[in-house]
Every structure is written in C-alpha cells, then in structure tokens.
Symmetry: C2
Subunit: 361 residues, 2 copies
C-alpha cells in the first residue's frame, strides 16, 4: 500500500492506494472517526462492494443510500435523496459520509457533506480509475445544471481517500481507458518523465497490473495534489488541471451527458489543446503526433462529433472557466509544461475548432 | 449612517446602517465590485424596492429573480430558480448576488452564491428588522429540509451588508415585533446594559424612531459580530446566538413553517430558556418576569402551542444543534450572560416543557 499525504493545513488528509484495501480490517474504521456513517453509492457499485465496505465498518451506525448510476443523475434532484437519507437517519454534525463509487458518486456525496448542517466529514472510496486519479482528490464537489457541468458545488476536502485498485477489475474497459486520459493529462501538464513512463507501461496498465496501477495512481495524485496545494480555490495554477476540459465540455454538452465519458471527452480535448499549442508555435507537429499516438494506444476516441466550430465555441463560452467573457484555455508550452492562456488568438482557436468539430468528408 | 467593520481576515466586510441608504447614489455601486449582478428578491419586497436598488446600480449588467415570499419556500426547489437565473443570464465567477429582502431571501441568495460555480460574492440588503440584526450578519446561509430547518447550507460571508432603516416603514408591525425578539436576545446573552436601553426605548423602536433603530441595529450587529468573529464555524461560543432557538424550532416545526414567525418562536423560546435557567437556580424568578415583561411589551406571543412536552422534546431532538444525541441548550447564567449547557438535567427540562407545551386548563 502506498500512502500519500495531502498537505492543506487543518484540512490535510491521506490518500491510500493499493490492492485489497477494502478487505483490510481496521483500515476503513481507522480512517473514519465518526460513529454515524452514511454510505453513498450507486446501483452498479453497491452490489459489488457495499457489503465488503460495511464489513470494514462493523461497529459503526451505518446507513446507505444507493443512487441511480450515471452522469445524467448528477443533479440537485438526486442530491436531495442524499439529504433525505441523512435527515431520515438522524445524522448529526459529527456524522461522516462515505462515497463508494466513481466521480459522480464522489462529487454528489462530497457536496452533500459540504452542505449538510453546513458541513460534515466525508471519505472518498473511489472505485473507478477516473475517480482514483482525479475527482476524489482536491476537494471539488458538486452537481450539474441542465445548462452546464458542475455549475453548482462547493470546495470541501475529504478526510481520507482510500483507493482499492482491485475495484478496477470490475470496471468496464471503456471506463478504464477514460480514466487513463486523465493519467496522461498529468504527464502532459507537469511531468514529461511520467509521460515517458506511461508510454512504456501502457499495456501493463490496460492489463491491470497491480504495481503499475499503484504507481500511476500515486503519481497522478501527487501531481494533482502539488497543484491543488498551491491553489486550493482555483484562482490560478489549478486551472492547469483543466487541460482538455473546456474543449471536452463542448463535446459532452453537445452530445448530452453520458454519450461520451468525461475522460473520453477530456482525451479528445487534450488533442485539440495540443493542436492549438502547435498552431501557436509552442509544440512541434511531432509532439502532437506523440500525444495522439498515446491517446490512441489507450483506446480513446479521437474524432470529435461534427457539431461545427461555431456551436463548439458557444458551448465553450458557457463553460465555467470563463473569466469576464474571455475564454481561458489550458495549453502546452512543451510536453510536460502546461500553461493557462487568457488571450489566445481567435484565428488559431478557430482553426483548431474547425479541424476537429467540422464534418469530415 | 453608522458603519461597522466585521473583522474576519480576508473575509472581512462592512455593515452600513442608516435611513435612506438605498437612495444614496454611489453607495451600492461602491459596495459591489462586480459588473454582473443578480438581484434576488421576493414578490412582496421587489415591487417596493427593486427599482430603487436598480437605480443605485446603474451601469451594472443587472438581472433579477423574484421568489415567492415565505419561509415555506426556503427549499432546494426554490433555490434551483436562483441557479437557473444565474446560468440563464450567463453569470460568471466574478458575478455578485444581491439579496434584497428578509432572512429567507438572504439565506437563499447567500447559499446560491456559496454554491454557484463553487462560490461567488454576495451582498446583503436586508429589508426586515430580523434580517438587519441577525440573518444578514455572520455568513450562515441555507435552506430548510421538510424534516428540519436550515439543515442544508453553507458558511459564506457577504461582501457587505447595507441596512436601510427606511425599509422598515413598509414592514408589517408583526414582523417588526418578531425582529425585536432577536434584538432582545443580544441583551440577554451578552449585554445587560443594552437590555436596559431596550427597556427604556422600546416604544421609540416600535414607533420606528430612526435614531433608536440605527442604535439598536448597530449594537445588535456588534454583539453578533463579536461572537461570530470568535467562532465563525460554530464550534463553541457561537451557539449562544441560538438562545431560544431550540425551543423555538419545536414550535415552528410543530405548527408548520409560517404560522409562527421565526422571531416569535424565538421569543417564546427565550422565555422557556429563562424559565429553565431559573429552575437550575441561575436566574431569580424576578429575572424571568423581567424577560417576560419586555417580550410582552414588544407585543410578542408568549403562549406556546399545546403540543405536549413529549412531542416538543422529540422535535428538539431533530434540531441540528444536537451533538452525539445529547441536547445542547443555550441558557442564562445571569441576565446578559448566556451559556451553552450540554448536560441539562432531564427533570428540569421536562418541567419547563410541561409548563409551556402542555394544554392549559
């Protein structure tokens, strides 16, 4: 088991990564001081892991709420079911919410914890690669609005993140690949050495080699944590973590939440960011090819839906990473060196959007 | 105009109190740095003051959302209308929400601001006495759950509070009296001298004498701010502000939100707290009479609904100020000296509840 300490003053917390953690007696109970625990999960994950989690929490007063599975249920309406469960089980301020599932469960459980009685503890037990390397770390919680993703939420840090890599064995391969997009992201924005390691170990990751998984998850969390520690509330550098996201949000919003997985949209978006960085003269064409090749080897879709450049731009404009009407984009100065660009030339952006969002002959 | 500075580090803000503030050119605009402003109000207050507020914000990109009036609309469902307005008017992270109305509007506007894009600024423009002396100060925001008040919310400090005492001229007298209950509360928990001043100036306050109002509001905010500054997130001393509230919540919940005004329930609850403090030997019977006399002069209802002591206790048990299953009550060591009591003898509490909640012959 690897243990990573996220340093955020009094909101510091540990991330534990390893195979079989859900079965380790005392590990979960040790991470949760509360007597009263509400486990939030979904209809896919609960049958697989809820009993095992409950076993590890013997002695607690345990309640559960099982939500429908899918990004389209990440709404205020579904969130109110978590509040209902907290109230109906008479959970108090000293209760703890445990998120057992992927990013949607984690975001909603964390947001419910942020708001219930104006803030109770929560612990992340992510069961998807995406959640293990991204959404469970950093304290961003929230739900979607029909007109935009994650528009309603809170910053609320978990008390602990417990990532059992064995849970990835039940993850659909498509979701594993989507999670790899975010892993690749960390290499692109901050660590070319890690990107090289990924190029050398991609097959091991796809084959769920435990040691490779633990290393990739740990290093991903490390990169994310370093960036978040510098900028917890996303005023500056944290925006680097959004590489590919603004483009990706356009894909997700245009196709309706759920058709493209988040990580898939981010993957295609990262390719657009690389393309645009190349048009600005920062990346060489060979660098773009390198990004494309790795994403392709990870089995990620690279062809964006032909929604047209104009519509894509409009959808990007509704994205929450807009500042005073100007689009900020995360681009790459070099491989391993992300940068937040607030004044990207319109013609270069237009060319990238046209190349990726126009219908191909 | 009186100006009070609330010291909370980088979340510090000013409270401005005086007659005619909504009409003072530049005052509002000066308090709001944002270009984009969403005004949240209700169907009662908007026709009276929205135009005047808009005049003071000329030059801003202004949008508005007018909510139904009343505590029963302080729900997640109504809150989603504020999110809809923010999204539909394409408000960004640098937008500002302005709450124009009473406590319900302030709580919902503040909570929406806390959650929208994980936090935007908001400014309170309270138009009820209750909001001017209590809910607009301290950063507590939120909505009710069907099974309990304020169970869902956030701590989010306003950028400024602007209390125009002229708005109290359109306030129903019953609401003015309910607001006075909270003013009296500050005297009871922290300042016997202020309580004496209130005993000498109650008629001036009921007659809306401007100087008396400004003094009472300013002193109330000062007491609240001192307590909040010591304990922003309500781990200890801030609970003093809940004098009368746990008893009062039982009244409000039993009768359904809206039949009793919040301040009225708090008034009756403070009398119960005084009664219980007397049973514990802390207050003399004459002190209880003094509390009762002042509340009566303020025109507040003192007879609690005959719901029975058992039901009252159950309703108090669901209150959010419960810690690990034990009821914490705010009581009075002396007049002007509130105390949070975590282990109140059950028989004394039972006697107080019986005296106030049992049907009278």
């Amino acid at each position: 088991m690897e243990r990573l300490h996220i340093e955020l003053g009094e909101r510091s917390y540990p991330i534990l990564v390893g195979p079989g953690l859900l079965g380790e007696a005392g590990l979960l109970a040790g991470a949760i001081a509360a007597r009263d625990v509400l486990v939030v999960s979904n209809t896919t994950v609960a049958p697989l892991y809820l009993a095992r989690l409950g076993h590890g929490l013997a002695g607690k007063r345990l309640a559960e709420v099982v939500l429908p599975d899918g990004e389209r249920f990440k709404t205020l309406e579904t969130l109110s079911r978590v509040f209902d469960a907290l109230v109906e089980h008479r959970m108090n301020r000293d209760a703890c919410v445990v998120a057992l599932g992927g990013g949607v469960v984690g975001d909603m459980a964390g947001f419910a914890a942020a708001c219930y009685q104006r803030g109770v503890d929560y612990v992340q037990v992510p069961t998807t690669l995406l959640a293990q390397v991204d959404s469970s770390v950093g304290g961003k919680t929230g739900v979607n609005h029909p007109l935009g993703k994650n528009l309603i939420g809170a910053f609320h840090q978990p008390r602990a993140v417990i990532s059992d890599t064995d849970t990835l064995r039940t993850l659909p391969p498509r979701e594993l690949r989507a999670g790899l997009a975010e892993v690749i992201k960390y290499g692109l924005i901050a660590d070319e050495t890690f990107l090289g390691w990924l190029e050398g170990n991609l097959e091991a990751l796809l084959a769920l080699d435990p040691a490779a998984l633990v290393y990739a998850i740990r290093r991903s969390c490390e990169v994310k944590a370093e960036i978040v520690a510098e900028d917890e509330r996303e005023h500056g550098r944290r925006a680097l973590l959004n590489l590919g996201h603004t483009f990706g949000h356009a894909i997700e919003t245009a196709t309706g939440y759920g058709e493209w997985l988040h990580g898939e949209a981010v993957g295609a978006g990262m390719l657009m960011a690389a393309d645009l960085s190349c048009r600005l003269g920062w990346l060489a064409p060979a660098d773009v090819d390198r990004v494309r090749a790795l994403l392709a080897r990870a089995g990620l879709p690279l062809a964006s839906p032909p929604i047209g450049a104009g519509r894509a731009l409009a959808l990007m404009g509704m994205d929450k990473k807009v500042l005073a009407g100007r689009i900020r984009l995360v681009l790459l100065r070099r491989i391993g060196d992300g940068v937040v660009e607030g004044s990207c030339p319109a013609d270069a952006l237009q060319a990238t959007l046209a190349a990726h969002f126009e219908a191909r002959a």
